[in-house]
């Protein structure tokens, strides 16, 4: 169910001769209304899929921009329910992949109940960035039973043996972390990325998308030439906070995303 929607979105982009564009956003940031406007703007500006962050108090995989956005969203009153609301608002138009830390899965009834809630909001998949291979088995099975794809991450520090195991168990797509570090904009795409993406594609039967550190349309295009999908996070989160109103937030992200979409097609 979720897997098929994700597969179709990647396939449609591939048919157009480009990588899929997957913008990230933080639910409830800078406030509920703005995040609903940002989600709609993502769809209107050419997002093939959306990665939707569930705000959490202690996000260990995130750099300063997304960490601060989570803190601000929580201060503005966001909860898991806010993330589900944002998910529901766009999930009939593009596949939505939730990005939720392990404690959020646990606190909302465990894997089966979390999957049920996510599915009811139309989510296609979920990334749990602090649930690496070795911890993920039960959650992956429960998610799969409900029709929610558990998308795993591969890092530059992942050993080749482990990478093959991660790819074999992956559902939806494989998320390649571009650099050794947390999320956030970087000046350059690492030179070692191409080899990592090539190796991961060789291990994987499903699409391979790259995230972390992609902050310009040119970087997205560069990564799009080697990967099946490109994830842009912190740069867009920063844009969402700059407007000062829901409409301004939507305009700011739409502007960046439209340019990126053009660059990917180029």
């Amino acid at each position: 169910m979720g897997e098929a929607r994700i597969a179709a979105a990647f396939a449609a982009a591939k048919d157009e001769g480009r990588a899929a564009l997957m913008p990230y956003m933080m639910a409830g940031f800078p406030d509920r209304e703005s995040s609903l406007a940002v989600a709609a703007a993502y769809v209107d500006s050419g997002a093939d899929l959306i990665e939707l962050g569930v705000p959490f108090s202690d996000p260990l995989a995130d750099g300063p921009t997304i960490h601060a956005a989570a803190t601000a969203a929580l201060e503005a009153g966001a909860t898991f329910a806010t993330a589900l609301e944002v998910c529901r608002s766009v999930s009939d138009r593009v596949p939505v992949v939730l990005m939720a830390y392990a404690n959020m899965v646990l606190a909302h009834g465990g894997a089966a109940e979390f999957a049920r809630l996510a599915l009811a909001a139309g989510a296609a998949g979920a990334i749990v960035p602090d649930l690496p291979l070795g911890e993920a088995e039960e959650v992956r099975e429960q998610f799969a039973a409900a029709g929610l794809a558990l998308v795993p991450l591969v890092a530059p520090t992942t050993s080749p043996e482990r990478r093959a195991q991660i790819c074999a168990a992956a559902r939806g797509f494989v998320y390649v972390v571009s650099t050794v570090g947390t999320t956030g904009e970087r000046a350059e795409v690492p030179a070692s990325l191409a080899a990592l993406v090539t190796a991961t594609k060789a291990d994987s039967e499903i699409p391979v998308a790259v995230g972390f550190g992609i902050g310009t349309a040119a970087q997205a295009a560069e990564v799009g030439r080697i990967a099946d999908g490109v994830i842009v996070g912190s740069r867009l989160v920063r844009a969402a906070s700059e407007g000062g109103s829901p409409a301004a937030a939507a305009d700011a992200v739409a502007d960046f995303l439209s340019q990126t979409r053009v660059a990917l097609a180029g």
């Binding site: 108090s57 202690d58 830390y101 404690n103 291979l133 890092a155 570090g181």
Partner: protein, 387 residues
């Protein structure tokens, strides 16, 4: 050669970004190998004796015993170099970092005790040291910040959240995600992702191994109760571990009730928390219904933490150890009482254990209480609190 524990019952595990998994595997393998290496352990033993000052005495506190109505022995971790049990772990991990060929070490600190211990071990071994510390703690603990700087460490302020230990730990882990290829992270308690809870326990177990032998020498039998304060829980697991198989010995962990367990302002994850994931392991945490980790509160900075090491959660569930909680007010009174009775100024953390002892006279036998640190660092806080 036995493998390091990754799970304690259902608790523990490695709930961290994929980027760190390789380094955690490397660390587990390094410690499994090092603890079987006679030359490495001989060096550790020598430094424990001549640098830390071990074994720490097991002191029969006569006036405290009179007041408590039973014989009470204090395990004097306050007499260690740098003034607390923290150095046992910091020195061991710094030696391990050196053995792994990592020249750079990072650590988190709350009140600064673990930061000072890590900076001290790094100075001894010539390692680069960066300590993450919440800016609120930097303000409250200026003398320890100066100590770390004197020892050659860089102190990096953390501005997120309440600017205290939880955020400093998160910041250190995030930094490690980006520097893992050449840096070792010295976590300060028996918490975090596997293998840290088992590694830190192994390094702190020296407290319990010594205390058990010293108690048998002094009394010819084992204590009725072993009592220790629990924040992250490293001094407690260190002393408990040596007695776990002695089923007749009661193990009592004393958490911070802060302003009261019902107030929402406490540090008692085991007594009043829920099961959750914080800083890489599944354990008891203080969280709200939505799954957000809450700020802890305690007058004692070392107990001001919304999580606890996973082995304690397992010892609680199995019934092998009991966990109780003592309020700020009770701990402050016990701080004053021990100071006057014994001429020992205890850390506010350890004062929680003293307070529980004073209020819970046992029946037969004698007690061993882990005096985890000295209280010089707490003087300003105590003066402020008691006016």
């Amino acid at each position: 050669m036995s493998r390091l524990d990754e799970r304690f019952g259902p608790y523990g595990g490695r709930y961290v970004p994929e980027t760190l998994i390789g380094a955690l595997d490397e660390l587990a393998a390094a410690w499994e190998e090092a603890r079987e290496d006679a030359a490495f352990m001989a060096r550790m033993d020598l430094l424990r004796r001549d640098f830390i000052g071990r074994p720490s005495p097991l002191y029969l506190a006569e006036r405290l015993s009179e007041r408590a109505g039973r014989r009470v022995y204090l395990k004097r971790e306050d007499l260690n170099h740098t003034g607390a049990h923290k150095i046992n772990n910091a020195l061991g991990q710094a030696l391990l970092a050196q053995r792994m060929g990592k020249r750079r070490v990072i650590a988190e600190t709350g009140a600064g005790q673990h930061g000072v211990a890590t900076a001290t071990a790094c100075a001894l071994l010539g390692l680069e040291c960066v300590v993450y510390m919440g800016s609120e703690d930097i303000r409250r603990q200026a003398p320890n910040v100066e100590r770390m700087k004197l020892l050659g460490a860089e102190v990096t302020p953390v501005e997120a959240g309440a600017r205290t230990l939880k955020e400093a730990t998160s910041a250190a882990i995030r930094e490690w995600v980006g520097s893992v290829e050449d840096t070792h992270y010295v976590i300060g308690s028996a918490a975090g992702p596997a293998p840290y809870p088992a590694l830190v326990r192994d390094l702190q177990r020296v407290i319990g191994d010594e205390a058990r032998e010293q108690a048998l020498q002094a009394e010819g039998e084992l204590p009725a109760r072993v009592i220790a304060c629990v924040g992250g829980g490293s001094n407690a697991i260190g002393i408990f571990k040596a007695f776990v198989e002695d089923e007749e010995v009661a193990l009592i962990g004393v958490e911070a009730a802060g302003e009261g367990l019902d107030s929402g302002r406490h540090g008692a994850s085991l007594s009043a928390g829920v099961t959750g994931v914080l800083h890489g392991s599944l354990s008891a945490v203080i969280a709200d219904e939505d799954g957000q980790i809450l700020e802890a509160h305690s007058v004692s900075a070392g107990l001001d933490y919304p999580g606890v090491g996973p082995e304690h959660a397992h010892l609680r569930d199995s019934g092998r150890a009991s966990y109780v909680a003592i309020s700020d007010r009770q701990a402050l009174a016990a701080f004053a009482e021990l100071t006057r009775l014994e001429g020992i100024i205890p850390a506010l953390e350890s004062s929680h254990a003293i307070a529980w002892l004073l209020e819970n006279p046992g029946e037969a036998g004698f007690d061993v209480l882990c005096l985890s640190g000295r209280g010089d660092k707490d003087l300003a806080e105590v003066v402020e609190q008691t006016g």
